[in-house]
Subunit: 270 residues, 2 copies
């Protein structure tokens, strides 16, 4: 697998600052990085934008906006305001993609929560479009439905995309979240040019904290090579982020994590 | 909710023996129980059958058969033999339903593993039919794809059912496994008279061991009443098992667990 497509997501090295992330990418001859907002805000938006521009690195996406669901209208409005800021940050950083984690099921109401997500996206889509930023809906694993995202499948994400029907909205595929889907090939083919992002992580056992249990590429049960081939067949040619949210890897030296990601990515069977 | 439909699944009271399960059901004026094979085998099949028959309790189902997937042909054959025994046990106990947990994704191959499940079911379906036992495919939560079941959605379970196309095969709906599915109503309506079993448990946070993290009815995020209404609308009129695999509830006195289940079931909003 060509390293030119690999993007280092900062969640894989959560102790790294933004300058650390840039240094790790440069040390490994990467072309892309994907920062989360926390490290961008900690270093300062303006300073982050300047550092990234001077580095020559491209930014595959900013993580993350969303969290549109709440039983409180005040909280929902606050989420809209935060998403508008996230779009501004993405524009200032010079990335065309804001990853969207939609927000959990609230009020025991799956369909009602989906409506809140649609409303939220429709409130921010024109601002995103003006900023040259696409909103990438990332379906999360269903085990996170009650605390992170009511959108738990590629089919549901695409239904949302089609309902909103705006060119500034797309879908991010994360292998960890959808690997078990027997309809994966068909869903990806159906989404087609609506695919705006692609992330890799492996599934390892035993499962611990569901937000910190991801495995290094090749250590688990996912046919990562096959999923890359499926994305290729759907003409997704963009960067491929490696986003390993893992308590184990978070405790390792960031250089080791980055080196391991590069080695494993290079040897993916595709 | 009428208590006449409630079935006490032995996994809710894992320290109970088969006589304990019968006593708990009788003490709470229940009409149904659902034993797992472990307690039946520990008490003896013949003795269990006699005790259940003399109690007058009905048996909503026997848990469980399945586990058809393996990269080893020898292991797959061994699973077939075990499923044939499970069918015999179900017949001897006098239940019309054997719950099927299909087996995990093996060899990083979702579609190949699904084929193994289909092959396994086709190998045992005639024996089940002769015994008057239906095989209930239970899609599990996708977080169990790597260790329990490659069948992780009602849609996938129903595709398998339709492919096998035999009246002795049906689908078991467990709220814990499918509650997040935005297509739940449509899927249940589509399956229709293929619905052969129904189980309740709630989803509580934080998630611990995914096989021991279920919540008591009403303690979590699932609209259990709504899901019961959806099953009613699809003309499922059979027993409703309460199956709360939970480290917390396993450590409580079985009388308390049974009483709590009865109270919560009675007050479900339907």
């Amino acid at each position: 697998m060509e390293l030119t497509r690999l993007s280092l997501n900062s969640a894989s090295v959560p102790t790294a600052t933004l300058p650390d992330l840039v240094r790790l990418a440069e040390a490994n001859s990467l072309h892309w990085v994907a920062p989360w907002r926390d490290i961008v805000q900690a270093f300062g938006i303006g300073a982050s934008a300047r550092l990234l521009r001077s580095s020559g690195l491209q930014i595959s996406g900013l993580c993350r906006g969303g969290m549109f669901t709440s039983e409180s209208g005040v909280v929902r409005e606050s989420a809209i305001a935060d998403n508008l800021r996230a779009i501004d940050e993405a524009q200032e950083l010079g990335t065309e993609l804001l990853a969207i984690v939609c927000g959990p099921v609230v009020g025991k109401d799956v369909l009602g929560s989906l409506s809140m997500v649609r409303d939220g996206l429709e409130r921010i889509i024109d601002h995103a479009d003006s900023a040259g930023v696409r909103l990438g809906i990332e379906p999360l694993h269903p085990m996170l439905a009650a605390d992170r995202s009511v959108v738990t499948s590629l089919a549901a994400a695409n239904a949302l995309r089609l309902a909103i029907d705006h060119p500034a909205i797309g879908i991010i595929v994360d292998t960890y979240n959808v690997w078990f889907d027997a309809q994966f090939e068909q869903e990806v083919a159906t989404i087609g040019d609506g695919l705006v992002g692609f992330q890799l992580a492996d599934w390892v056992l035993p499962l611990g904290d569901p937000t910190k249990s991801r495995g290094m590429l090749g250590d688990g049960h996912i046919d990562l090579g096959g999923m890359v081939r499926t994305m290729d067949a759907a003409h997704y040619t963009g960067p491929i982020e490696v986003e390993i949210l893992s308590a184990y890897w978070a405790a390792q030296p960031v250089e080791l994590v980055a080196n391991t990601i590069v080695t494993r990515f290079s040897s993916l069977d595709i």
